[in-house]
Symmetry: D2
Subunit: 504 residues, 4 copies
C-alpha cells in the first residue's frame, strides 16, 4: 500500500483517463472588488486547471499579487487575501501543469517591473517555439526565474526596442509561435490576445454597464470589461457576453473603451474541437454554439452511426452525460444512471496493494445494480486515451449483472498528441495509436466499441463534414493535421532549460 | 467580504439547504489490511459525514488509533498512516457534527481501557437521554473527556456490574434511549447494534469467504465479516451483502461466526424514511429496496399527484436527479440538465459583500441557458428546509429565460425537527412549519409548488399509504409522530455539559 | 546522515548529559490579565520544562484552556490566545516529559467537570504509587484519558465521598504517595500543595497588593496571590515573595485570603538538593538560600577539597559558571571563558554520519583557543551523568592546545536514579554507578577528576555535614537513601497503563 | 496586549538594542557531504543572520538548491533535505534582513542559468550603488526577480561581453561600489571576493588535506577548500585556517588549487572595527587578532580610562561578558554575574499592555539580587544604540538593591549610521547622535556613564591611537568617516525598486 499524491485534489479530473485542459484566464477592467470578481471568475473556470492559481491587481499606483497551490476557493476564500489585492483592475489564472516542476515561481500570472511600469501576464495554451526562444534570450544575457512560456513572452517585451507597451506586445507576438490566449495588465491597459488561428478560446464581456447596476457597478459611468476563457465565467459574476475575441486579435481595454488590433492580418480559424467534446463547461457557449447542445448532437450522431439493440443507455459520469442523453433520445432507448460517481476524493488516496487491487476497488465510480442487472447496456463516454479506466468500468458494469456491454465514444479515436496546451500522453501511450477499434474493444472487454466518425463530429457541429482543405477546427489529435508549426519539436538540442533543481 | 470556513470542504453537502446525515460506521473482522479495507469502506460512506474520520484497529495484543479532521482520503491516503494501524480487525467512523465543538477529542471511534481489555465504539445516530445520563454519571464520579453520546455509552459499560463485555453492553443498552446504530471492538469480538426501532441503518456482509480469495482472503479459513451503514460500503471492498442487522439486534462476531442477541424482544420497525429520500447513496439497497429505484418511484408518484403542463423536467443536481427522471418518465415530458453543478468547491469560499451578492453569485450551481430559454420548466428537488437555496435556483432559472418555473419536491413538507441523529434546524426555521404551500411558492418565487403527499411517499415505497396505527417508517419530520421518547427534551435542567472552553 | 528530532528545541537542555527537571507550575488569584501574568511566570520557569505548556483560567462562570507543544512564547505570544483566556484566576504548567507519549492529551493542566463545578490541576513531581492507583481505579470503572499522574489525582477527587473540594482534595492526597508540588483551580479557590517531605519546591507570593499598583493592581482591594515553583517567576511579574509553602501544607486561596491546612501533621523536610546544584534558575531563592550563592559556595568547597595547580579555571557553560567562579576565587586562579556556547540550536539538528562524526563536530560548544592554548586547565561542571559530553569537551579543550585538563564536578557522583519527578537514566547507565572516580577520569580522558563530597555539599549549604539520621535534603541520587516509599517499583505487575497506541 | 512577531526567533539578538550583522557566507570545494559540511559551517555563523538560510550545491552536472526562513538547524536538520543536495561543492548563506520584504525569492544564494552554465552567489555586505545600477539594468530590459544586491551582481555578469566566468566577474566587480564579501559557485570553480577596502571579512581554509583524513577526506588527493566569514566556521568542521582573503582579492578555487587575482591593485585596508566589538563570535580570529582577546583588552582600556570606585563589575550578558572581565581584572574589582539571561525566547512574545508594562517585565534579563544588593555596581555593555534597553537594565539593577549603578561601554558613542551591510537605525534614532554623554547618563538613569575613547579602542587593537590620515579600520559609525562612496545616498530618485506587493 503506497501513497499517491494527486496533482491537484480535483474530484472531477484526477486519475481520469482524459486529456486535460491546461489553464484558464480571466481579466477585469474598472470594476469594484476586482480581486473578488476575478476569484469568482476563476472559480467558474476551475475545470480548466486545479493545480495552482493566482491573481494580480493594479490600484493605479502599485500592483498586488497573490498566488498559491490548489483550488481558487482554497486560496482566495480568505477575505484577508482579497483585501490584500486592492484596485479596480485585475487578471487571474488557473493552472494545470503538464510537467513536474510545479513550484510557486512557475504559477501565473507572471509579473515584471519594466522601465515604464509594471506588467503582468497569464496565458492558456502553449508556445511551440518557447525552447528555441529561451535559449536565444539566455544567450543575450536574460535571466529566467521560471520555466514557463509566459516568461519568454515577458523577456521579449522587456528587450523590445519599441517604446509603448502595445507596440512591444505586438513585437513579442510576432516572434512567438503557438496556440494560446493571454491576458495582460499594465499601468495603462488590460489586454487580451488570441493566437492567429484561434485555437484556444477567449471571450469579451461587459460588467456593470447598465443603470440597474449590481455589484459590477463600476467606478466609471461606462461600466467595466471582462476577458475570460469561457462564458461560464461571465455568468457567475453577472457579466454580459459581448463577443469572442477573434483569432489573431489584440484587444486593448482602457477607460476609453475597447481598441482592436489585428497585427497578423486575416487568418483561417482553427478552433480546438476538443473544447466541445470535453474541455469546456457544458453551460458555456463557444463560437456561438452552446457546448451542452453540441455534446447532445454529437451523441445523436453517434447513435445514428453505430447504435446496437440495447435496453438502457448509461453515461460514464460526469462528462459522458450530455452525449448519452443525445444518444438515448436519438436511439429511442431509455437513458438511466447505471454508474454513480463519488465526488468526495481528497488530495491523496490509497494506492492499492495487489491484494486490495483484486477487490476491484473503484474510488470514483460505483455500479448502480438496480439499473444494470440483466440489461443490454450501451455505455457512452467522451473519449478513450489509454483505455485503463474504460476497462475497469466495463468490468464493473458486467459484475453488476449487465448481459451485454457496448461502449460508444463521442469523439473519433485519439491517435495523436497535442502540442497546443493540452496535457496528452506521448503518442505511444494512446490506445488508438497502436490498436484497431476491434482490438480496443477486446482490450477493454466490451461486446462492441464504436467512435463517432470525424465527419460525424463535423456534422454535429454544423458542417457537412470535414473539409480536408479548409477544416473549421483544429482536430490534430484525431487527424495528425497540425495547423500551427512545431519548431521546438524539430529542435534536436537538449530540452533542459535549467541546471537547477530546487527542493522546498 | 468576510471569510466563511466551511465545516468540511464537502462539495455535495456544505451550504446546501438540506438535512444532514450525522455519521457513517464501518467494521471488519478477520481481513488482511483491515485498516485499508476500513478506509475504503469509510470512503464509500463519505456522504454520511465529512467533518472528521477515525479508525481503530486491534492486532491481537494492542489497539491502534488514528483520527483527523476532514475527508477519509485526506487522513488515510498516506500509507504510513495505514501502516501504523496493524491487525485484522477494525472499526471506523465518519463524522458530521451538529454542534460547534468539533475538537479532536470528540472524533470517533472513542476508545477506553477497561479492566478486562480495550474497547472502541463508534455510532451513527443520537441518544435521546444522553444529557440525563451524563449528569447522573458525573454525579457518580465519572470524568468525561468528550461531549459525545458515545462516551455516555462507554461509561455505562465501564461501571456495569456484569463481568463479560457482551453482558455489560446489554446492560448499557437497556439504560439508553435513542435512535442509533453502533459498531464496537473489544479484545474478543466485533459487535454491531441497531436501536430497538431500527431507525438508523446497519447491514452485515461477508468478505473473502470464498476460495478464490481476493484481497479479502482472510487469515481464517472462513473469511471475514463486515458491518456497515450502507451496502455501497460492501461494494467498494468486494464484500457480499448478507442481511440487514435487525431492529434491536446485537450481532457479536468472532472467529466462531456471528452470534445474534435480541435483548429487547420484538419491536415494530420504524426505519428512517429520509434515508430513501436523500441521505443514502443511490446505489445502496436499504431494507431490500434499492435507493435509486425508490427515488424514481417517488418522482413518478409526484408526477401523478401534481404534474402541470411543461416543456422540460429539470433536476436540481445532484440529489434531485433520480426523482426527476422518475417524474419525467411518468409525465412523458423530456428530462434535461438545465442546471450544472460545480464540484470544485474548496474548504473556504468568499462570503459576498452586499455588493457582490447583487451579482447573484452561485458558487455551486449555474444555469444551462440552452436547455431553459423560453421553456416551461418543472424543477425537481428532494426537499425544502429553509427555502433559501430554492429561491436562488428559481431565480437563476428565470434569469436564464425560462417562461414558467414549477417546483416539485419528492418529499412531504418538513414541518418538524429530527432528534434521531440528523442535523435539522430548529422547528421555527423550517419553512414548511411556518407557511402554507401557497405561501412557500410565493416566497421561492415559483409559478407553482407541490410536495409529494405522505401517502404518496408510502405508496412509492410499497405500502398502500401510511397506516396511522402502525407506520412502517419514522416520518417524524413530516408528521411530528416521534416513535422514540425524548427525555432530554423534557429535561428542563441546564443543557451545558462542560464548564470548559478549549482553544486550539 | 539521519534526522534527530529533539524533544523540545531547547537551547539550554537538549542533548546535554544532565538530569532534567520535570515541570514548573504557576498560579494566580485575583489579578488583571491573569493569563498574561501566568504566561510570563511560565516563561521565567521555562528551564523547568520546554516540551509543552498550558494555561487554564476561570472567569467566574466558565473555565478556559489552551495547551500546546513547545515553548511558552510560541504558544502564548499570540494576543488572540491570551484573549481567549479571560478571568482573574489562572494556573499554568511547563512540561518536560520523561516518556515518549507526548501527545496533547497528556499536557497539563488537566481539567475535569465535577458535579459541583470545574477543577483544573497541574503538578511538578511524581506519584510513586500512580500505577497501583491507576489499576485500582480502572477496576472500579474509571476511564482514563491520559497516562499522567495528575489524572489519577483527579479521579480520586471525583469519586471521593466528601462533599467540598478541599475535603476531597485532602482525601485524595492521603491516598497518594510521592514527591510533588501541585496547583489547582476550582470554582471557589486557588489551591497549592507541597508533598509531606517537601521534596519539590513551591512558593507563595503577593501581587498588586500595594496602592502604587502596577499591572498587578487587582480587582479586589487586597491585591492578588501567586503560587510558583521558583521565586524567579515572582520577579518577572513584579510580585513579592511571601514564603515557601511548607512541606505537607495545603494553601487554599480565595478572596478572604490564604488558609493553611496541614493534614499530614509535622514531617521532617527533605528538599531536593539537586535544585541547588542544577535545576533551579540561579537568580531564584530556595528555602531562604539564593541559588547562585549556593553554587558559588559549592564551587569554593570543591576547590578546598580537590584543587590542583592550574593556570585557568574554565566553566562548562552555562550551568557550570557560578561553581567555577566560586572555585576560582577560592583557588586564587584566574577564571576565564575557555568554552563558548552556541545558543542557536533549532528544533532539529544533523545527526552526523561516521564521516562527519570524525570531524569532531560540536554543535553547542566551541573552544576559545586564546584562553586555552598552552594552559593547565581546570574545567568545572555541575554533574556527570553518562559521561558522553564530558569526554567530548575534554577532547575539544585538549585540541585547542591545553597542556593539562582537570575536571572538577560541583556535585557528588550520581549513583542512583531519581523517582521523584526528575528525568534520570536507569541506574545502569549512570557512569558513576559502574565506575570508580579513577576509571571515570580515564574514560573522559581527563588528567584528573574530582567530585565535591557529600559532606562538602552539605557544608556549602550551611550544615556541618550530612547527618545520616536526619539529613536535611533528599540526596537519593548520590546516596540511594530514598525518603519517599516506592510502591510502583515494588509492584511486579505489567506497567503498561493503556492498550492503545495513538498516531497523530 | 498585542502580538509581536519577531523577525527570527533568535535568542541572542532579537529585541536587543544592538547593531545587527547582515549575513554570513560559507563555501566548500571538493569535500564529501558538501551540503552537510556547509550546514555545519552556517550553524557556526548563525549569529551573523537568523532570518533565512540557503545552500546551493553542484554535483558536476546539475545545481541543487534549498532555502528557507529561520535557523540553519530548522532548515537543514532534516536528512532528506541534505540528501536532496548532492555533490562535493557548495555555497551557503545566513541572512539577516534589514528591510521588511523577507520573501523567499530574496533568500540567498541566488542562482541563474547562464549560456555557459549555472552560477550561484551569496554575499555579506552592501552595494552602495545598487539602486543606481538596478535602474540602469531595468532600462536595458533586465527583469529582476528579487530586490537584493546579489541580483544586480548576477545581471552584470549575465550581460558582460567577456566570455569566461572569471572575466565577467571582474567586469561586474568593477561596476559595483560597496563593502561586501561574496562567495560564488559556477560549473568550473568556487570563487571568493572581498571588497577593495576589506570592510567585511572573508577567510580561506583547508579541509581534509592531511592523510589522517576525518570527514573532510575529500575525493581528490589534495583535499578541499573552505571559504567562510569567520574562523569559527572552520573549527566546527575541523578545517584549518590558511589566511584572510585580502582586501580587493578574488580567489578562484578549482582542482588545481587556489588562484589569486587582484583587479583593483593595492588598496589600504579598512576592516570593520565593530566586528571586534560585537559582531564576530568571541572564538573567531580576525586579521590575526582573537576576538575574545580584543574584547578583554578593550574592557581593560575602558577601566583605565574611566573607572570609578565600585564593589562589583557586572556584564550585560551575553555580549558584555569579555569586556567586563577585562575591565574587572584591570580595575581589580570582583567580576560577578549580577544579571541572568533567559535564552528561552520563542518566535513570538507578549507585547505588554500598559498594565503589564508597569510590572517592568524583562523577558530576557533578570537581576541576580544576591550579587547586587547594597553594592556599588559597574555595568559593562558593548554599545548603546537607542538606549531603550540600557535604561531598563539600569532600573532593574537598582530595583534589586544596588546602591550605585555606573554604566561603562566598550565602544565609542555610535553617532552615525552604517551603509556597509549593517542594520542600524537612522541617525536621528541613535541616542549618541542627539545627546551628550552626560545627557545620556541621565536618560538611562545611571549614576555615571562612560564610553571607551576612539583612541583607546585603537590602542586596545594594537595601534598607538587612530591615525586620522590612515586609520586601520572602518569606524564610520563612531566618526562619520565613510571610506566607501555612497552613490545611492546621493541619488535623489525614488528608491522604490518594484511596483509589486506580494502577499503569501
Amino acid at each position: 500500500m503506497s501513497l499517491t499524491t494527486l496533482p491537484h485534489g480535483d474530484p472531477a479530473v484526477v486519475g481520469d483517463d482524459k486529456f486535460h485542459e491546461e489553464c484558464g484566464v480571466f481579466g477585469v477592467w474598472n470594476v469594484s472588488d476586482a480581486a473578488a470578481v476575478t476569484a469568482l471568475g476563476l472559480h467558474a473556470l476551475q475545470h480548466r486547471g486545479q493545480e495552482a492559481t493566482g491573481i494580480v491587481t493594479f490600484d493605479g499606483a502599485r500592483f498586488h499579487s497573490h498566488k498559491g497551490m490548489g483550488l481558487v476557493g482554497d486560496n482566495f476564500g480568505d477575505a484577508r487575501v482579497i483585501a490584500s489585492l486592492p484596485g479596480p483592475r485585475a487578471i487571474g489564472h488557473n493552472r494545470y501543469a503538464t510537467t513536474g516542476d510545479t513550484v510557486l515561481r512557475n504559477v501565473q500570472p507572471l509579473y515584471a517591473d519594466f522601465e515604464f511600469g509594471g506588467f503582468a501576464v497569464a496565458h492558456n495554451g502553449n508556445l511551440t517555439n518557447a525552447h528555441v526562444l529561451h535559449r536565444a534570450l539566455v544567450r543575450r544575457g536574460c535571466l529566467f526565474q521560471s520555466t514557463t512560456d509566459s516568461e519568454v513572452f515577458i523577456h521579449l517585451i522587456a528587450i523590445s526596442l519599441y517604446s509603448t507597451v502595445v507596440d512591444r506586445l505586438i513585437d513579442a507576438l510576432k516572434q512567438v509561435v503557438g496556440a494560446y490566449s493571454l491576458v495582460a495588465l499594465s499601468n495603462e491597459a488590460l489586454m487580451g490576445v488570441r493566437d492567429p488561428l484561434g485555437v484556444r478560446p477567449l471571450i469579451l464581456g461587459r460588467i456593470g454597464a447598465d443603470a440597474s447596476g449590481g455589484a459590477g457597478a463600476a467606478n466609471g459611468a461606462n461600466g467595466g470589461w471582462v476577458l475570460a476563457s469561457e462564458t461560464c465565467a461571465l455568468d457567475i459574476v453577472g457579466a454580459e457576453f459581448v463577443r469572442d475575441v477573434e483569432p489573431g486579435e489584440i484587444v486593448v481595454i482602457n477607460d476609453k473603451g475597447v481598441h482592436s488590433i489585428k497585427p497578423f492580418g486575416r487568418t483561417p480559424e482553427r478552433f480546438c474541437v476538443f473544447e466541445y467534446i470535453y474541455f469546456a463547461r457544458p453551460d458555456s457557449v463557444m463560437e456561438g454554439m452552446p457546448v451542452y447542445e453540441a455534446r447532445k448532437r454529437i451523441g445523436a450522431e453517434l447513435a445514428r452511426e453505430s447504435h446496437v439493440p440495447a435496453d438502457v443507455i448509461v453515461p460514464v459520469p460526469d462528462s459522458g452525460v450530455p452525449a448519452a442523453m443525445g444518444y438515448a433520445e436519438e436511439a429511442g432507448v431509455p437513458f438511466d444512471l447505471g454508474i454513480i460517481r463519488n465526488h468526495y476524493v481528497g488530495r491523496t488516496f490509497i494506492e492499492p496493494t495487489d491484494h486490495i487491487r483484486n477487490l476491484g476497488v473503484k474510488l470514483k465510480h460505483s455500479a448502480n445494480r438496480a439499473v444494470l442487472e440483466g440489461k443490454r447496456v450501451v455505455l457512452v463516454d467522451d473519449s478513450i486515451v489509454r483505455g485503463t479506466t474504460s476497462r475497469k468500468i466495463v468490468e464493473m458494469v458486467r459484475a453488476a449483472g449487465a448481459k451485454e456491454v457496448h461502449m460508444r465514444i463521442s469523439s473519433p479515436p485519439t491517435t495523436h498528441s497535442c502540442f497546443y496546451g493540452i496535457d496528452t500522453p506521448e503518442r505511444g501511450k494512446l490506445l488508438a495509436a497502436r490498436h484497431s477499434v476491434e482490438e480496443m474493444a477486446q482490450l477493454i472487454n466490451a461486446d462492441s466499441l464504436a467512435f463517432v466518425s470525424i465527419d460525424g463530429l463535423y456534422r454535429a457541429l454544423g458542417s457537412k463534414g470535414r473539409d480536408a482543405k479548409a477544416p473549421r477546427f483544429c482536430d490534430a489529435c484525431f487527424t495528425g493535421d497540425y495547423p500551427v508549426p512545431l519548431p521546438d519539436q524539430a529542435d534536436n538540442n537538449d530540452r533542459q532549460l535549467s541546471l537547477l533543481t530546487e527542493s522546498r
